[in-house]
Assembly symmetry: C2
Amino acid sequence: MNLKQLVYEVENLSMDNNDLMLMETVFHNANGYIGIRSNYEEGYPEGYDTIRGSYINGFYDIAEMKQAENLHGLIEEKQTMLNVADTQTIYLKINNERFHLFDGTVLFSKRWLDMEQGVTGRQIQWRSPMGNEVEITIKRMTSFHQLSLFTIEYCVKALNFSGTVEFESLHNGEVMNYSNSNDPRIARESKRYLLPEDALIDEDASYLLSHTASSGLSVCTGVKHLLSKQGSIQTKLDGHKAITRIDTTIEEGESITLTKYTVFVDSIRSKNCMEKAKEEMHKATSLPLQSLYDYQHNYLSEYWDNCMLEIEGDSELTAAVNYNMYQLIQSVGKDEYCNIAAKGLSGEGYEGHYFWDTEMYIQPFFNLTEPQITKNLIGFRYKTLDKARENAGLMGHKKGALYPWRTIMGTECSGYFPSGTAGYHINGDIAYSIIAYYLTTKDIDFIVEKGAEILFETARLWVDVGNYYKGRFEIHGVTGPDEYTCLVNNNYYTNVAAQYNLRWAVKIYKLLKELGRLQPLADRIGLTEEEIKEFEKAAESMYLPYDEELKINPQDDSFLHKKVWDLERTPAEKFPLLLHYHPLNLYRYQVCKQADTVLAHFIFEDAQSLETIRNSFDYYEKITTHDSSLSTCIFSIVASKLGLKEKAYHYFGNSAKLDLFNTHKNTKDGIHTANMGGNYMAIVYGFAGLRIKEDGLYFSPSIPEQWKKYCFKINYEDSQIEVEIDHKESKFTLVKGNPKQVKIYGKSYELGDTLTIKAIS
Amino acid sequence: MNLKQLVYEVENLSMDNNDLMLMETVFHNANGYIGIRSNYEEGYPEGYDTIRGSYINGFYDIAEMKQAENLHGLIEEKQTMLNVADTQTIYLKINNERFHLFDGTVLFSKRWLDMEQGVTGRQIQWRSPMGNEVEITIKRMTSFHQLSLFTIEYCVKALNFSGTVEFESLHNGEVMNYSNSNDPRIARESKRYLLPEDALIDEDASYLLSHTASSGLSVCTGVKHLLSKQGSIQTKLDGHKAITRIDTTIEEGESITLTKYTVFVDSIRSKNCMEKAKEEMHKATSLPLQSLYDYQHNYLSEYWDNCMLEIEGDSELTAAVNYNMYQLIQSVGKDEYCNIAAKGLSGEGYEGHYFWDTEMYIQPFFNLTEPQITKNLIGFRYKTLDKARENAGLMGHKKGALYPWRTIMGTECSGYFPSGTAGYHINGDIAYSIIAYYLTTKDIDFIVEKGAEILFETARLWVDVGNYYKGRFEIHGVTGPDEYTCLVNNNYYTNVAAQYNLRWAVKIYKLLKELGRLQPLADRIGLTEEEIKEFEKAAESMYLPYDEELKINPQDDSFLHKKVWDLERTPAEKFPLLLHYHPLNLYRYQVCKQADTVLAHFIFEDAQSLETIRNSFDYYEKITTHDSSLSTCIFSIVASKLGLKEKAYHYFGNSAKLDLFNTHKNTKDGIHTANMGGNYMAIVYGFAGLRIKEDGLYFSPSIPEQWKKYCFKINYEDSQIEVEIDHKESKFTLVKGNPKQVKIYGKSYELGDTLTIKAIS
C-alpha cells in the first residue's frame, strides 16, 4: 500500500471476495448526486458476492416494513435508496480471448483514488492463456462539474501482439437492490422496485426510462460510447437493457481507448427525464473528456484549498484525513432535494437514509469549509418541515414539528421506535446546527428565510413533550444518542439540547423582532409572545440530572441505578453488543454504545463545570463500547479539552482509520460519513480547541506528541483563517477578510494579519 | 332475550352480519380439548364475513412474524392455533328447495345454550319460497365424556307437506385461519398451515389426515352420519374433502333426524392419528346419542354442584355469572399438553395463546371449584419449564427460567417485547399461583413433584435480573400489568410479586428440607444454600416504591413524574386508547390500561397498610381506562375490600356482562376467559372477602344493595364449604370434610357444622 497526500493506491490486488466487496466501497465514485460502486467492469467469477450499485441521492421507492405486532402508529413502510442501473459492465476480448483477472496471468495490478484529480483508476498488465499481453488502464469519474455524469475511460494497450479488440458494454435497467437477511443494518429482502417504462436508441446513445413501483418517481439513464480510433459500434436493445458491441483492431504497442458516458436524470429534479437525459448526454459529449477532467481538477483545487489540513510527521494520518474529507464532498447532496446519507452514495447500508449524523457530525466540517453546503443541508430540513409537523401529529403532539429519525423524503422510516423515533434529540440537533451555521456565517437572511421557522417549531415540540414536575421541566420517554439505553426519562443530552433549542428560539425571536423581520413568519405559523414565554420558562426550568455523589451528569434518571456491564469479561467476538444481546438485556445495564453525556459535554460544554465534565468523561469512558462509529471522535475531542493528550490521540487514530482499514468490518456496505466528519472535528475542535460561540472564536491549541506540526484553514464570517500548530507555538494568519477578535487559551487577541501564541503544555 | 339460570336463549334471530359473528362466539361449543364456533350449518349469504373455525387446544403451527428491524433476539416466529377442519356444514333441501334463513320466510327462530345439558340448540320454523313449511331443530355438543367428539343432531319436521329431504354434509380439510389486517389482536395474514396427508372412507366414515406446514404435527378428523330412518347415505372424496349426500323422504308431520359425529385426534396426544380416530369414532357411535347426552349432563351436574353460585334478586347477573363459569369449563385444557387460551377455544383472537391470565384470573376459580384442573394448568407450566429456561438464556440471564409472555408450546410468541417479553411479572404470577394452589389444597406431593422446581427457577431469575442499589434490591427494564406504561424500573407490582416468589422459594426450600424431600430436586437443579441466602436477601431488600407525599405506591419509579392523561376530554371513540395512540405517546402519561398497583393491593394485600391501599385505589381509579378486560373485576374486589360497595357493584357489573353484552366490541373474535374468572373472583374474593393465607381461611362478607342474597360453594383442603350471604348475616356450612378454623371480619371461629355471623355494615 502506498499512501500519498492525495492519492491512495493499492498494488497487487487481492482476489478475495471480501476484499473485493470492501474495495467496491473504498474506491467508489460519487459527486453528491450520483454514486457508483467500484465494481470490476468485467465482473467477478460465478458465486462471488457483490454489490453492483449505482445510486441517486434522494431517489427512492417505498418498501414494506411490516411490524411483528402492528400497534397503532408504528411505521410500516419506509423509503429505500434504489440501485438505478448498471452501466459499469464492459467485457473485453483480445484476439477472441476474454479478459478476466481470474483467468490467465496478472503480471501487474493496481488501483488508485486520485483525490486531486477526482478520478479512480485501475491498471493491469495481463497475459492471456494464449500468451497475448495487454495493459489495461481504466479511469472513472463522477463529475462535480456536471452532476449527472459518470465516465469510464477504458484504455487497452497491446504489449506483445496485434489483432482484434472487442468490447461488449452493457446498459442494464433490470437491476435490484442488494439484500442480506442476517444484518439489521442492511435491507432484509430484495424486490424489483424499478419497472421499465421506455427504452430507445438516439444518436448512438441508449436511454432507459424506468419508474418506481410505489413512490411515483422516474429515472432515465443514458449511455454513449466513443472510440479513439476507427471501429464498429453497434447498440441493440434487449428488454430493458442495451448492449453495445465495439469491434476494432490493434497493433503491437498501440493504445486504444473506449470512453463510456453515462448520464442519470430523475423526476424529482427534472420534468421530462428522457429529454433531459438527452440534453445532459449532448452536454457531456460535446466537450473533450480532458476538459471534463480539468473542470473536476479545478473544482477539487478549490475544495482542497478551503478545507486544507496537513499533519507533518504522520503522512498516513494525513492521507486518512484527506480520504475522509474527499468522501464527504463525494457524499454530500448538492441541492435541497437530498442530504447526506449515513453511508453516502457508496453502498446500501442504512438504505440511503439521512440521520442526525448530518447535523452533529458533518455540518461542523462544512460550516468551516463550504458553508453553502450546510445551507443546502438545512434547506433539506426546511423543505421537509411539513412532514416533521405531520410526524409530530402522528406521535400525538398537539403542536410543533418532530423530525424523523431516519428518512429520505421527510417521513419516518424507523421500524423500531425505541432506538428510532424516540430519539427526539434530533430536533435539538437540527436546531443546534442552525445556530452553529448562524454563528459561523452570521447569515441572518437565511435565519429569516428558513432557520427561524425550524427553531420555533422544534421549540414548540419540546414544550409539548415535556412537563413540569415540582417546578422543574422534565422530558420523559425518549432515547438519547446511546442506543443501548432506550426509552428513558430526562436523558441529559436530550434535555440540554432542548434547553439550547428553546433558548435560541427565544433569542432569535427577539433578534428578528428587533430587526423588524419577525412578523410575516410569526403570523404565518401563529407564534405568540405567550409561547415565547413558555419557551423561556421551560428552558430556565429544564431539569439537567446531576449526581451529587459521583459529581457527574447521569445519562438519565435511572442510569446510575443499573448494573454495570462487565466489559472486561465480555469476549471480543461479542462486539458490537447489539449483534449479540437482546436489547432489553442491554437496556438493563450501564453500558453505552457511544458518546451520549460525553457528547453533551462537547456540544453544550458551558452547561457544566470542567470538573463535572472530567468526572463524567472518566465515568462514561469505562462503560462505553464505541460500537457506534459516532463515538471515538467525540471522546477524542473531550479528552483534548481535558488535556488528556494521549487519550485524545488514541481515540482520534481509531476514528480516522475506520473505513480505510475497515475496523468496523462493514465498510463493504458503505463508508461511515459521520465518522469522517467527526474525525475532522477531532483535529479542529479537539486538538486545536476551536469553538464558535456568540462572543466569537475560541482556540485552545494542543498537538499530539506523535506529530511535528499540523495546519488547517477555516472560514469564519467574511474571513478565512489559517492555523498552524506545533509544539512550541500556534500561528494564526488572516488569509482574507476583516480583522477578528479571537480568544486563545482564554485570552483575547486581535487577529489582523498574523498572530503567534506560545504553546501551553 | 330470555335469561334463565342455566339456559341462555335468544329468539327472533338477527340476520345482521356483526350479530352473526358475535353469536358464533357466544354459542360456540367446547370441552377444553376441541372448540367449534357456532356457524350456521347452511352458511351465510355470499359476502358475509364469518370465522368458521374448529380448534384443538395446544395444536398449532409455526407462523412467520418478521420484525420491521431485526434486532438481536427479537422473536420472529410464533405458534398459532389452527382451524383444523370444517365439519359443521350441512345443506338441506326439502322438495328440491334449499333451506336458507335468507330465502323464503322465517316464521320463528331461536338459539339457545343449555348449560345444564351442555348443548347448544337452534330452532327455526321456515316457509320455503314454494310454501313448504318445515321446523328444523339442531343440537350440538362437544362431549366432556369423550373429548374428541363433536355431534350435530339435525332434526327436520315437515309441517305442511310431504316429499323429499336431501342433505349435503361436508367434511372439509381444506381450511385456513381467519385473518384481519386491521386489528393488532388478530393474526394479520392467513396462509395454508394444514397440508393434506391422507383421506379415506372406512365403514361409512370419512377420515382426513393432515399435517402442519412447519411444526411437524398431524391431525385427523373423522366424520360419520346416522339417519333416523331409511335413506341413502353416500360419501365421496373430493381432494381433501369428503361430501356426504343423504336422501330420504318425509311425510307431513313426520320428523327425521340426521346425526353427524365428528372426532378430532392430534399427534401431540396420539401416535397414530388415523387409527386413533377410527377407535374414537367407533366408541362414539357404539352408544346411543342419548347416552352421550346423559354423560354430558352428569359431568355438568357435578361441575355446577362444585361451583354453585346463585344471586337472589338479580337473575340477569346470575345468568351472566353462570355463563362465565360455563365458558371456563368449556375453555380450560383437560391435560398438561395445553392450558387455557385468552379466548378459550371460541375464536382466533390472540391466536390461541396462553398468557398470565391463566394464573391470575382463572386458576383462583378452579382452585376453589376443581383443583384438579389447576394442577393440570400448573403441570403445563412444568412441562414447559425447560423452554422457560431457554428463554431466560435468550434474554441474557445466566440462570433461572423466564416464562414466555404468550405461548402455545412454551416458547415466546410475543412480537413486541415492550408489552410482551418484558412482562417479567409472569414469573411471579406463576409462582404465586403455585402457592395459591398449595394453600388451598395443601397438596405437598405436587409441590415436591413439580411446584418447587418452578418456584426455585423463577426465584433464580429475579436474583439475576435485579441488582442492588444503595442496599436495596431493584428490578429494572420490565413492564408491569399496565401496558400503557412499558419498560420501567421498579414496577411496584413486579417487585412485590418477585418478593413473594423469593420468600416462598425460601419457605418451600425449608419445608421440603424438613420433610426430607428436598435433596433429589436440589441435586438435579444444583440448588445451594448459598442461593437460598441470596433469595432471602433479595426478598428482604426488595425495593417497593412508596411516595411520601401522596402516600401511595407509585406504579414505578418515574410514574408520578409524568403528565396525567386527560381522560375526561378524550372522546369516547378514542377508546381503547391502544387503537388510537402511538405507544410512545401513551408511555409518557399517567394513564393505565388496567389494574396494576391496584392488582398488587389485592394479590399482595399484606404488603401495605389499608390506608395506602385506599389512597392508591383513589389515585389510580382516576387514571385507569379499563381498556383491558382484566381490570374492572380487580377494581371491584379492591373496592369491596375498602368498603366501597357501590363502586364494587358497578365494576362488577361491567365485568360480568362483557361477552354476553359484547361491551368490548370484540367478542366475535372470542370470549375473554380471564375476565370470566375475574368476574367470579369479584364475588367470592370481592363481596365475600375470601382470602386463603398461610394461617387459614378469611371472609369479610358484604352484599351489594341491589341483591337480596347470594350463595356459593368452595373447596378448601379436604372440605367443601357453602356460604350464604344476605344483608343481615352470613351463614357458613361445612358440607363435607373436617372442621376448620375460619376468620370472619378478622375474628376466629371454628366451623364445625354451621356458623352464622351477623353482617357488619
